[in-house]
């Protein structure tokens, strides 16, 4: 699997206040777009139940897990509501030439 800046998708492919799943190699990520067009990325699976966060609900800067309603601040990765107790890993994101890129170590 390559590391460094990885292209995800055109920025317009993510609706405002929404999240998509992005798989790269053996890893899975969640890519977020806020209401004011900021982009963020975290690990794709909830730290509580190993469920894809891309099926969840974005409220402001919170992602709610689709299975158990666990909450995280996707801008910091901080777990904000049980059953989520362990923080998410976050990744740097940039938009270049209309494309979203995330930085993977």
């Amino acid at each position: 699997m390559t590391s460094g800046w990885i292209e995800v998708c055109p920025a317009g492919d993510i609706a405002k206040e929404d999240v998509i799943r992005f798989d790269h190699g053996q890893r899975t990520f969640a890519i977020y777009r806020t209401a004011d067009d900021q982009y963020y990325a975290t690990d794709g699976l909830c730290t509580h139940g190993q469920v894809h966060l891309a099926g969840g609900f974005v409220m402001d800067n919170i992602i709610e897990c689709p299975k158990h309603n666990g909450r995280f601040d996707f801008t910091t990765g901080e777990a904000k509501g049980v059953p989520a107790c362990v923080n998410l890993v976050i990744y740097s994101v940039k938009v270049e030439g209309g494309k979203i890129l995330i930085h993977i170590d």
Binding site: A15, E17, Q50, F57, K67, H68, N69, V82, C85
Partner: protein, 360 residues
């Protein structure tokens, strides 16, 4: 009972817990009805308005019924007044406990948490323990050995179910657990699903509950009157019957060990009064499949899903016409369950795992 069938182990630490893991039923992937993402986002959207309206109405009715019961104390008319008070205190709290536990009823988090704490007390459920128990119920719905929330394990304990219409089986158990928690201990099952970091909350809230109950009992003794207990404590028993009536419809008699909520959950159409008391929890297939959708959007979610889900029961009568015979059959044959029929328009269900259960 057929010779090849032996009682299954519904504890979370026994034989069936291990078996569920071996069979890939633990924390598994579940079927989801196809709903376009933009529409699902609309349905998941949170609002404060409906829950504030419904909570104020609920509390006003509770206070009114309580005032009426107090005023009529000493007459036979106090009986129906307390019956109403008990239903509003306990049965209506069951659904408030549930929806606010998911933090979907209100948009504002603290409102969910306040109502959750109040409702937990009124349904006699220690809030942290029950929150984690319910999380597990959603992870492994009706998976034997994994789900701590199976209301009618097979073969069903019919006298126990009958007693629970007044919380007389589970209520004393909950008191026992609260006392255990007061001493900083958990049951074996609770140790499975409550993380270490959350356990201190269980102990301290249980001590608070014990203090409140001891105070009310002491108050009743001092007054030589049962009246204080009729307002705080006993309603969790005499007002439980409607929550049990509703609650049994959720899963009783349906398939265990299947990874498809359409087969293990039941949706029942109820009248507006019952849906107010139950906060639309009667749309139970919908809730389990999409737990992020708030109660006030469940009827709309039902419309999106109904072509892919079994026909709902039209009322409690129709629900119990299939539940009661199923439970009676399960007493003699625990492998029996109602096989839900999917409509022709539905996607097929995954194979029912029970069909390959080994005979013990």
């Amino acid at each position: 009972m057929p010779a090849a069938i032996i009682k299954r182990d519904y504890s979370l630490t026994g034989r069936d817990a291990k078996l569920a893991e071996e069979r890939g039923l633990a924390s598994a992937q579940w079927y989801g009805c196809p709903i376009p993402r933009p529409r699902l986002k609309e349905l998941m959207r949170r609002k404060d308005g409906p829950a504030i309206r419904d909570t104020l109405l609920w509390l006003a009715l509770l206070l009114l019924a309580g005032a009426l019961a107090y005023h009529l104390w000493g007459t036979w008319w106090a009986l129906p007044a307390f019956a109403l008070y008990g239903v509003l205190y306990a049965s209506a709290s069951d659904s408030r406990w549930h929806e606010c536990g998911h933090r979907t009823a209100f948009k504002t988090t603290w409102m969910n948490d306040v109502v959750y704490q109040i409702a937990s007390f009124m349904v006699l459920r220690e809030p942290t323990s029950w929150r984690w128990s319910h999380v597990r119920h959603h992870t492994d719905t009706l998976i034997v050995g994994r789900d701590p929330g199976i209301a009618a394990p097979r073969p069903p304990d019919l006298p126990g179910i009958a007693l629970d219409f007044f919380n007389l089986k589970n209520g004393p158990k909950e008191f026992g657990k609260i006392l255990l928690h007061c001493f900083g201990r958990l049951t074996a099952d609770e140790k499975v699903y409550i993380p270490e970091t959350e356990r201190h909350k269980v102990y301290w809230v249980s001590r608070l509950y014990a203090l409140i109950y001891a105070t009310v009992i002491g108050w009743s003794i001092a007054l030589h009157s049962i009246l204080p207990l009729l307002f705080i404590g006993l309603p969790s028993f005499y007002g439980a019957w409607l929550w049990v009536t509703f609650g049994l419809t959720q899963h009783a008699g349906l398939a265990e060990d299947v990874l498809d909520h359409r087969l293990s959950c039941r949706t029942v159409y109820l009248n507006p009064l019952f849906r107010f008391i139950y906060w639309n929890m009667n749309y139970h297939v919908e809730h389990h499949m999409f737990p992020l959708v708030p109660y006030h959007a469940l009827p709309a979610l039902h419309q999106e899903m109904k072509a892919d889900t079994p026909s709902p029961c039209h009322g409690l009568w129709e629900a119990y016409r299939e539940i009661v015979p199923a439970l009676l059959k399960q007493v003699k044959d625990p492998s029996y369950h109602i096989r839900r029929k999917l409509p022709a328009s539905a996607r097929p269900a995954p194979m029912e795992m029970e069909a390959v259960m080994p005979a013990w």
